[in-house]
Symmetry: C2
Subunit: 326 residues, 2 copies
Amino acid sequence: MDDLKNKLVSMLKDDLAEIEKALSKNLDPYFDIVSKVAGHILFSGGKRLRPLLLILCARLCNHSGENLPYFSTVPEYVHAATLLHDDLIDEAKLRHNKPVANSVWGNSIAVLTGDFLLARSLAISAQIGNLKIVEVIAEVTQKMSEGEIFQLYKKGNIDLTEEEYFEIIKRKTAILFEGSCKVGAMMAKASMNHETNLSTYGFNLGLAFQMADDLLDYTSDTKTLGKNIGTDLKEGKLTLPVIIALKNATPSDSSVMKKIIKDNNFSDYDFNILVELLNRYEGISYTSNKAYEYILKAKEAISMFPMSKTKEILLMLADYVLARKM
Amino acid sequence: MDDLKNKLVSMLKDDLAEIEKALSKNLDPYFDIVSKVAGHILFSGGKRLRPLLLILCARLCNHSGENLPYFSTVPEYVHAATLLHDDLIDEAKLRHNKPVANSVWGNSIAVLTGDFLLARSLAISAQIGNLKIVEVIAEVTQKMSEGEIFQLYKKGNIDLTEEEYFEIIKRKTAILFEGSCKVGAMMAKASMNHETNLSTYGFNLGLAFQMADDLLDYTSDTKTLGKNIGTDLKEGKLTLPVIIALKNATPSDSSVMKKIIKDNNFSDYDFNILVELLNRYEGISYTSNKAYEYILKAKEAISMFPMSKTKEILLMLADYVLARKM
């Protein structure tokens, strides 16, 4: 796994450097304070998957490439904006253990900086000069915000269905991956067929990415993940491993699980019991298999493209999404 | 004054009805919950000045008019989004007197619904089919968010200058008024000259509107205004009446004022002293005169248009902005 990551990073070194440069340059705020706050979220070790997808898909469709890093900032700014607004929401449950004054100042700045990034991404996307591209970005951000509202509305709901889970991760992650690939293809003036195929690649990659992310919350450890495991559950977010295990469990094991889930301050001991039950009732394996299926679909979607270095990278990215440990 | 308002409402009755219909229809959310929350802020008695400006300016430039109500929702959604995100910020100082849990749920929903409205407005503006219009809206929202961040950054700063105050109200209010007028002119394919003049009208109207708004916080009463007077000050927002009075006051009166300003929980008695000083040191009259100057500039900007019912309404709107009591 680390080999795959290192190989990818080395193959993408130049692109990643260009993306970093563009992300910083394109912020272009009127007030210094804006660039300080936006920079804080933007330059905290993101993987830059969305800008990479835009660039790689455009390149696969023979885009010459000069202005790609510039415009690849669009989906990353959207992503950073949603992170800023998500952090606010996720902070909510922690609020009780924290001095309120701090988090209030933080929240306000976070929200406004998110707004700035959202507006900035749309302003930059308008510069591409293709109205259809602006429509894609505006629709993606609209659907993402609806998805977040739906997720919030369902927070703490122990009866979340598999279907509702997919609706959430589709909107939360898959449509921005899809949009990044689609915009790349559109910038390259690709055929409708190629545009559709690359959109399908991105969409399925996004679903698998989010499922892998949700799995890590139960299968990783705090040190590797860089944040506490079990966090989703503490925030009241039911993800697929839990949904499936709850469905498959005996009534008695199901109520053990529900008791732990409903307790926002479950102990490590309880959490380990839960993880064991997620394994026993195939919540982990089911999710993992599903993610694998979506990765296959993503790869299948780009099968009509002749092999090239760029295609190889897109295939490797798909493997990386499934295998990543953080 | 009430006569002017009644006359305007009666002349604009049909437009206002069309705007209300479009605001509700255009929300078009995937989840019912989104329309519920967005509806809460959208249908709470707004004056619809921004949609009206778009429609009236388009009409002044001979736009035939059919799709105007539909597209007039764009600036109103932007406005509602900023209100939602402002409420969050303004709530901050009140938080201490309120149960936190309530306001947390409210904040999250408010932020996400604001995001939805922002994205929706850009998606609708893209439907107009003119990339330049999207650019206007994206740039306006970008500048507005920067202005909000700047205002937040300056909150509680007793040394705010007149120049900084104008930078804030320009971004907070004037550029969206300007943008509404400009988009109206662009939709009508007006000449560059007419577009510029209508933009100037909107910009100056917006400045005057915000100054009048800031004045009301000291000159109105709670019942008429529908919210507590002195609120700006309690939230740490220095506005022009205070800035000017502080500049003109004797050192001893200046420190009396500063003491009241710095006390977030000033009494009615203290507030009355402050208002008296704002009057004595010409903070009120200076602001009022400035607002009047901008209204004159706004009217002057549309002088080249021949008299018509629409022009008459735009002139009346300018008078209304200055004379309004709530």
